[in-house]
């Protein structure tokens, strides 16, 4: 006899099982019913777009990654500054000090990147 508190697990279990059954059923039925005649065009990555050249497993210049990292720094910056600006009035002087500290820390990060020569494209 299950308690009402635990009956939810039973429903969740039934839902999970039903999910599995549905996926297996759908794939087998469509596999049985659908016609098979693969052509070269159909098997390409982008059937109706660019023709892929070579493999995707090539080395990209490292500069891209470093630029991506710098971008993330500013991205996070904007997320915080906007949410701070929305409630600027409530936070008053305390909020102002916090955001200044935050930007100073990010600026030190930028200073670091600049001194390490990241901003120069190799």
């Amino acid at each position: 006899m299950s308690t009402p508190a635990n009956i939810g697990y039973l429903y969740a279990g039934i839902l999970v099982a039903a999910g599995f059954v549905f996926v297996i059923l759908a794939t087998t039925v469509s596999g049985l019913l659908s016609p098979h005649n693969p052509t070269k065009e159909k098997l390409q990555t982008y059937e109706s777009g660019e023709t892929p050249i070579g493999s995707a497993w090539v080395q990209y210049p490292l500069g891209f990654y470093i630029y991506a990292l710098l971008f993330v720094a500013f991205d996070v910056d904007i997320v915080f500054v906007i949410s701070w600006a929305v409630i600027f009035k409530q936070l008053s002087i305390f909020g102002f000090c916090e955001i200044v500290f935050f930007i100073v820390v990010l600026a030190i990060g930028l200073l670091y990147a600049w001194r390490k020569g990241v901003t120069r494209w190799i």
């Binding site: 697990y9 820390v105 030190i108 200073l111 001194r115």
Partner: protein
């Protein structure tokens, strides 16, 4: 909402962050290692001063920033431990950095940021802050593992560490999410209150417990979540390895105990929690000790040895939980033993690692056989390293003996005799592998005759560590007097204080 006293309670962490930023900026404008190291070391005086001030004026547990920060004796105890680690690390890594790593400033900056995270892990009383503190601890560690840029092993170590760390964080977060779902709050005191009414047999409580133990299991390298430790310890630069083995582990235990005890998880469904942790402890003890006995590389051996040490600490944690429901005061003696053990372990392992850094720097090898006959070539280093190893093995005259005795007697009294017996048998195995290094250093014929002169920073570190170890041996009761209230303070919030 926000008060100036909050800033004071957070001052050790704030000043450490500022120190890290200052070191970072200085590193950009000077290439002189001595300046960076001196600023780091002298700058540490400020957070140390704040912690001492808070300890001296301590009147009772205080919370700040909407109960995110908890300043009780427990967090003060761990803050002291982490600041000790930081100071030792600056000294111990100084010479190695000049020799092997180009990014010297980065090493110090990463280390300091990581220590901030560790201090926060011990002193936050809220799940999300614990998670953020954990990530603040871990991210610098990942980067530190890969600082040997020309070594493929080091890069491999860093990558493995990132991947496994991310996985363990995910598991831990899942556990936190379940706790939040069960109680409707992320505040540990709130969780403790709602766990009062939880009966036995709640499946979700057990799942949450297991996930949290698994998540922290990675950080403290407990079996079966230990696989990363040997590879990463071997590949990472040796000072970073020393830092992982003490910092990450102590912080992991600090947060785990904080959640289990302060978060009041022991109030509901104790048996599964004890069974799970007990099995983990036994596996950790057996695998750590036996695997350490067959290693030939000293860093791998120290990795397994640190796994084994985590096993002893887990014995203390399990014992505490056994008694938590019946007798808080008795149960807290288990935590007190754990705190003392962690302090001794930190000092000892830092000493042993500075010895290893020095000796492998001088001999150019990391195999145990490279250490042959070092007694004839560098007596001071050999004696100090041997003392630290003896302490790790738990041989009587040194502090390691007392820390093991405390943890074993506490566990025995709290009703876990079998765990104690297994731990004792494993201890005997540990004497074999620690003893082997000592034997190789003292009695085997040296490879070359020429004397080795250790650089001043390293010989200072190891002498300091050994001295600290001997002092700890003498002032055992003083430390215990600090550890006991620290352990009790975890229960304080639940006893209506």
């Amino acid at each position: 909402m926000f008060q100036l006293s909050d800033l004071y309670l957070l001052a050790p962490e704030i000043s450490l962050v500022l120190l890290a930023l200052v070191v970072m900026v200085i590193d950009l404008f000077t290439k002189r290692r001595i300046v960076i190291a001196t600023v780091s070391l002298v700058g540490l005086i400020v957070p140390v001063g704040f912690v001492i001030a808070q300890a001296v004026t301590y009147t009772g547990p205080r919370t700040a920033l909407f109960r995110m920060l908890v300043v009780d004796q427990y967090s003060l105890f761990f803050r002291v431990i982490f600041l000790i680690i930081a100071a030792f690390m600056v000294l111990a890594s100084y010479n190695y950095l000049g020799k092997y790593i180009k990014a010297e400033g980065e090493f110090y900056v990463l280390m300091l940021f990581s220590v901030v995270g560790m201090m926060l892990m011990a002193s936050t009383g809220e799940l999300i802050s614990i998670y953020i503190a954990l990530e603040l601890t871990s991210f610098p560690l990942y980067a530190m593992a890969g600082l040997l840029r020309s070594s493929t092993k080091s890069s491999e170590a860093a990558l493995k560490y990132v991947l496994l760390g991310a996985m363990s964080s995910a598991i831990l977060l899942y556990g936190f999410a379940l706790l939040y779902g069960l109680t409707g709050t992320t505040d540990l005191q709130g969780i403790a209150q709602s766990f009062k009414s939880f009966g036995n047999g709640n499946l979700m409580v057990i799942v949450a417990d297991v996930l949290i133990i698994a998540g922290f299991g990675f950080k403290i390298s407990a079996v079966p979540f230990h696989m990363w430790a040997p590879d990463i310890y071997e590949g990472a630069p040796t000072p970073a390895t020393a830092f992982f083995s003490v910092g990450s582990k102590a912080a992991g235990f600090a947060a785990l105990i904080r959640i289990l005890v302060y978060g009041g998880l022991w109030q509901a469904d104790l048996t599964p929690l004890i069974v799970v942790l007990g099995v983990v402890a036994v596996l950790t003890l057996i695998l750590g000790n036996f695997a350490a006995a067959v290693q030939t590389n000293i860093k791998r051996m120290m990795a397994y040895s640190s796994i084994a040490q985590a096993g002893y600490i887990l014995v203390g944690v399990v014992a505490t939980l056994t008694m938590s429901q019946k007798n808080h005061t008795a149960a807290s003696s288990g935590i007190a033993a754990v705190l003392f053990f962690i302090l001794v372990y930190v000092v000892t392992n830092l000493g042993a690692f500075s010895g290893i850094i020095a000796l492998s720097n001088l001999t150019g090898g990391e195999k145990i056989e490279d250490f042959r006959g070092l007694w004839h070539r560098s007596p001071l280093l050999t004696v100090c390293t041997s003392l630290c190893l003896l302490s790790l093995a738990g041989i009587p005259p040194v502090a390691g003996f007392f820390s093991k005795v405390f943890i074993f007697t506490a566990a025995w009294q709290l009703g876990q005799p079998w765990l104690v017996i297994i731990a004792l048998l494993c201890s005997i195995v540990s004497i074999v592998y620690y003893g082997r290094i000592i034997k190789v250093m003292f009695f085997d014929a040296p490879r070359k005759e020429e004397r080795l002169v250790a650089p001043i920073s390293l010989s200072t570190t190891i002498t300091l560590a050994t001295a600290a170890l001997l002092v700890l041996t003498v002032i055992v009761t003083v430390v215990l007097d600090a550890a006991n209230p620290a352990a009790l303070s975890l229960f304080a919030s639940l006893l209506g204080k």
